[in-house]
């Protein structure tokens, strides 16, 4: 039987559809996961906002970077964040990163054939007793545990850089240098300009923002 993914019919033209233009990177290091994203929100040919944080903190020890139209992404992130909190209230302990990732994937997979699928691609990073972990998730509900994660058009330009430079047990300086190289490559080759990027890191002490990486 053919499987058809059908988004809403009669949907008026959405001027913020090019979600592939969001840039997010994630890198697994020695005992941390480092994530970076651009901070631009665009509508048609304009930048509407240039200081949007696209990396959400879930439960104080998980980072979720979203790519996609703002409405879907923010609603989905809110929904996930609050459900993970609810789990913590009910069960007096947080979900592990692996369980959290598969919960999110389950939500995406359930939504894809429903009346209103979420058009969100996710990079999920966290550190728990099993060490650092990074998961790459698709709006269709696919999931992959990766060492280097990239979303959007950035994949075409920076996967090779990541493959070349990534190695096991990278220190924080090496991780920052790797992502900075990828951002430099995007600035050089990507048609759509972006000004700022935000760097966030999660390690055993929790989540924090790197102000001057």
């Amino acid at each position: 039987r053919d499987i058809v993914v059908r988004f809403r019919k009669n949907e008026p033209e959405r001027s913020n559809v090019p979600n592939m233009t969001d840039i997010t990177f994630g890198v697994v290091g020695k005992d941390y996961v480092l994530m970076a994203s651009d901070t631009t929100i665009a509508r048609s040919i304009f930048k509407m906002k240039n200081n949007q944080n696209k990396i959400r903190t879930l439960d104080n020890h998980i980072l979720m970077a979203w790519n996609g139209p703002v409405a879907d992404s923010i609603n989905f992130s809110d929904y996930i964040e609050r459900n993970l909190e609810l789990y913590r209230f009910r069960n007096h302990s947080s979900l592990s990163v692996h369980a959290g990732a598969y919960y999110i994937r389950n939500e995406l997979a359930t939504a894809i054939r429903s009346r209103s699928p979420y058009q969100v691609n996710i990079l999920l990073g966290g550190v728990d007793k099993n060490g650092p972990a990074l998961y790459f998730m698709d709006y269709l509900g696919s999931i992959m545990k990766v060492n280097t994660g990239i979303q959007g058009y950035a994949q075409h330009m920076t996967y090779s850089l990541m493959d070349k430079q990534w190695h096991e047990d990278m220190s924080l300086e090496e991780g920052i240098a790797l992502i900075k190289d990828c951002i430099a490559e995007m600035k050089k080759r990507f048609l759509i300009s972006f000004d700022d990027t935000t760097f966030q890191i999660v390690d055993k002490d929790g989540v924090r923002v790197l102000d001057n990486p």
């Binding site: 009669n10 033209e13 929100i41 509407m48």
Partner: protein, 295 residues
């Protein structure tokens, strides 16, 4: 019916250009042509399927079929919503300004539309996109805000009000609503503005402009906006930005209205015809030039 009649009156070439500038629903696949002389990217209908598209339009009216939507290979630059609205926050207050033109195709339906809706004494919303949608849903929002006040005995924040509207919009996705609202207000957290869309997008920033004239307004705003402007300068900046947008955009015009919201509430600060502003600015420019030449 009226739309078809207007289309028949106007020639084929200008039909497509008008549709684009007035942002009417129903799209035609355009090619983009770079005009070498002016450097402007212009949408033109490809000559191959121009006749077919015209016939379709005239026979069926406007089409919402998926194949006429944005082709990912040929993105269309489309400025929808024939209006110009803007809002920006300063340190202690918010300034909101709008034009007042409503256009139906090439006809100006009204030059005196009130595009600023007072949701309560401290929160204001603008209208861009479908006028009926904006008026109706902002009215619904007004009642919801009042209910919040009655239930919780406190004034609703702009963040909460905009989230209410954004959630409503998100739940009506796919139903063809068209809204581009700037919600501005002063609450316990200070002055703030939010942009809320019929997609369910909700963004917080210090400066927004929405509508077909918004690119022109952004040019003026981005070059002169500072967060420490005094009120007279801020109002003048808002006026100037709307004036320039109405000057260049066919779908914006009429009277320009400026509203300021501070800790004492929303008040209408200035209302005037854009043609009078035109005279004033041209005189000032001429005087400036003659001063320069004489020194």
């Amino acid at each position: 019916g009226c739309f078809k009649a207007v289309l028949n009156m106007v020639s084929i070439d200008t039909k497509f250009l008008f549709q684009d500038s007035c942002g009417l629903e129903g799209s035609i696949d355009h090619e983009l042509r770079l005009d070498e002389f002016t450097g402007v990217i212009v949408p033109i209908p490809s000559s191959a399927n121009r006749q077919k598209k015209t016939k379709d339009l005239l026979n069926q009216g406007v089409s919402f079929a998926p194949e006429t939507f944005q082709d990912p290979r040929e993105p269309k630059i489309k400025f929808a919503h024939g209006t110009t609205t803007l809002g920006f926050t300063l340190d202690k207050y918010v300034v909101v300004a709008c034009d007042s033109r409503a256009s139906m195709g090439s006809v100006i339906a009204s030059n005196t539309v009130k595009k600023i809706v007072h949701i309560n004494d401290f929160i204001v919303g603008t209208i861009a996109g479908g006028a009926a949608d904006c008026q109706y849903w902002e009215r619904v929002l007004t009642t919801e805000c009042r209910l919040h006040e009655l239930r919780n005995d406190e004034k609703i924040t702009v963040a909460a009000a905009s989230k209410l509207l954004a959630n409503i919009m998100y739940s009506y996705r796919g139903y063809g609503l068209s809204l581009g609202v700037i919600m501005a207000g002063y609450d316990i957290t200070g002055p703030s503005i939010f942009y809320v869309d019929s997609d369910g997008t909700r963004l917080k920033h210090h400066l927004f402009s929405v509508g077909s004239g918004s690119p022109h307004a952004y040019g003026i705003l981005d070059s002169e906006y500072r967060s420490d402007l005094k009120e007279e300068d801020a109002v003048e900046l808002a006026r100037k930005a709307i004036y320039h947008a109405t000057h260049r955009d066919a779908a914006s015009g009429g009277t320009i209205r400026v509203v300021v919201i501070d800790e004492h509430g929303a008040r209408s600060v200035w209302e005037g015809d854009m043609n009078e502003l035109h005279e004033k600015y041209q005189k000032a420019k001429a005087k400036y030039r003659s001063d320069q030449m004489s020194t």
